[in-house]
Homo-oligomer: 329 residues x 2
């Protein structure tokens, strides 16, 4: 019997284990065009918090009593779809469960090869693509720019750091705690800021970038965004990817330096990775080449077993992950 | 003897009369290339508040003990500059005084004609140009867009309303009090919101724009910006021109809807009108045509006499003006 995590209730503020239940799932027999997939790796990502709210957004909310969804990598164990054979590896969105029956149209085959399959949930998947297009297309970062990225030890941030270095930029990353700061430096960042060290983030950023920043890649919002506003050079471009600081808070964001958007002519642009779906070939080709050339190191935090999925997810909001947070089923 | 308003001290929070002193000014004799101008009209503008702080910005701060500066229109009363004759009308930046000796290079001749000369401090001057390029170039507003503009009864806002209507847009303006709301409607706005009426600005804007807004022209910041974030349609563009709500406040801006920048892929861009100096010809030609065609109505609030200049300036921050705030010398 397959098992799946369902949403039992919507959280107010920080989610808890009580918002989820692990239930037996009676999988249907396969119609034409369907495949049955045994999941090996499940992804948990901060954006999922938004889908737990009953709010219209760019993806529909998770439904109460239904299985959660999310990125997963697995192996085809039964197929009634052309081009999909038993043993094929696929990435798809029927995560938060051990086995799923899905339309093959919603699955993408990934190669057997040297690259670990879970990488397609990380730097060669949605988080990597988010970093790629956020940095290069949304913020239009280019060689010579000084780039600040928050949550630089996370799945997206660690990709931003390394893509930026590969493209000839100066990079400052922020992360929480000495270990993560050391990781960010080891990824090639020119400077790393420990936001948990206390003191003014704006001052720390100003010290790390005395001439200011050209680009800010925002994963955090709040005080990080404010520090970036304080230190932005004229015509700086901000790619607003996430604001994890605010996902579980009902309090408004407080920005002391917002008016600098005028005097420094700053541009802020929010984006969603799926907006760049038509350019995915560019990502696989160029990011794939960087990965193949050993220029992208991928850290992972792995929880073992389907049972740990909510714990893995909740850990994202307490800084419990270094690099990509994954569940091995 | 000429007289000029000088800055005597820098304000903390709201400026007061005590920050200014009216002093006698001993004007120099004219060198080659100089003109002496008798001012007829002085402009006071919200951006001047920023120049009272000792903070590096896009224009240098006013110096303590020196005359204030600002837009003015006057008549040449003495000239040692080619192309400038006694009786010529000029617009220049040696405002806050009744007479000034300036390099002719810093003055621009304006035509004698049907257009009142003070209009070159308003809809045919800096505020009009701010509205023009902010709306059309920064926010890239186009026919069919729904545009929200704050401080819509002010010098810039009233131009935004009328340019947007002339270009085939739907316009919602906000202003403080029933009289200003009536003015905004009389300028052609499709809807006007009285922000002093109490209640949620986001709800009021949502009611006025049930399908959301494509463009926000920000003169106010704070709760107005937050309402625009709440009601922005996908890929909305915000031109951030001013944040008068925060100019005299040490409190951070509070934004409850900031995260919508991601889900709705909103773009915010700050700008300074002087960035568009190279395109001033386009403004004079097209805005001049609208003015000549009677499509732009210009409201003015006039204070009488050089002595009233600080009062006029301070009135900007208490909503004391309808349309352009001017001092007649």
């Amino acid at each position: 019997m397959a098992r799946a995590w369902t949403l039992t209730s919507r959280p107010t503020g920080m989610p808890t284990h009580d918002n989820f239940a692990l239930v037996d799932a009676d999988l249907p027999t396969l119609d034409d065009g369907m495949i049955r997939v045994r999941n090996h790796w499940l992804s948990v990502d901060p954006y999922m918090r938004g889908r737990m709210n009953d709010v219209k957004s760019y993806v529909p909310p998770f439904a109460i009593g239904e299985p959660m969804q999310g990125g997963a990598v697995g192996e085809v164990v039964e197929s009634r779809a052309d081009g999909f054979a038993v043993g094929d590896r696929v990435v798809h969105m029927a995560g938060w469960r051990d086995e799923a029956v899905i339309p093959a149209a919603g699955a993408q085959k990934i190669p057997h090869g040297d690259i670990p399959m879970q990488r397609y949930l990380g730097h060669l998947g949605m988080p990597g693509m988010t970093a790629w297009f956020g940095l290069l297309a949304v913020a239009e970062a280019k060689a010579g720019d000084t780039v600040f990225v928050s949550a630089a030890a996370g799945a997206v941030g660690s990709a931003v750091v390394q893509i930026a270095k590969a493209k000839g930029m100066t990079v400052i990353g922020s992360a929480g705690g000495a270990d993560k700061v050391a990781l960010v430096e080891s990824l090639g960042a020119d400077a790393a800021i420990d936001y948990k060290a206390g003191g003014s983030l704006a001052k720390a950023l100003g010290a790390a970038a005395p001439k200011g920043i050209d680009v800010y890649f925002d994963n955090v919002g709040g005080a990080h965004l404010d520090a970036a506003l304080a230190c932005a050079r004229d015509r700086a471009r901000f790619a607003i990817c996430g604001m994890i600081e605010g996902y579980n808070s009902a309090e408004p964001a407080q920005l002391r330096y917002l008016m600098r958007i005028i005097s420094a002519r700053i541009q802020l642009r929010g984006f969603i990775v799926s907006d760049f779906q038509s350019r995915v070939g560019e990502f696989y080709s160029e990011m794939g080449a960087l990965v193949a050339a050993g220029k992208i190191r991928s850290e992972e935090t792995i929880k073992e077993g389907l049972e740990t999925t909510p714990e893995a997810f909740l850990g994202l909001f307490s800084g419990g992950n270094v690099g990509k947070m994954l569940v091995r089923v």
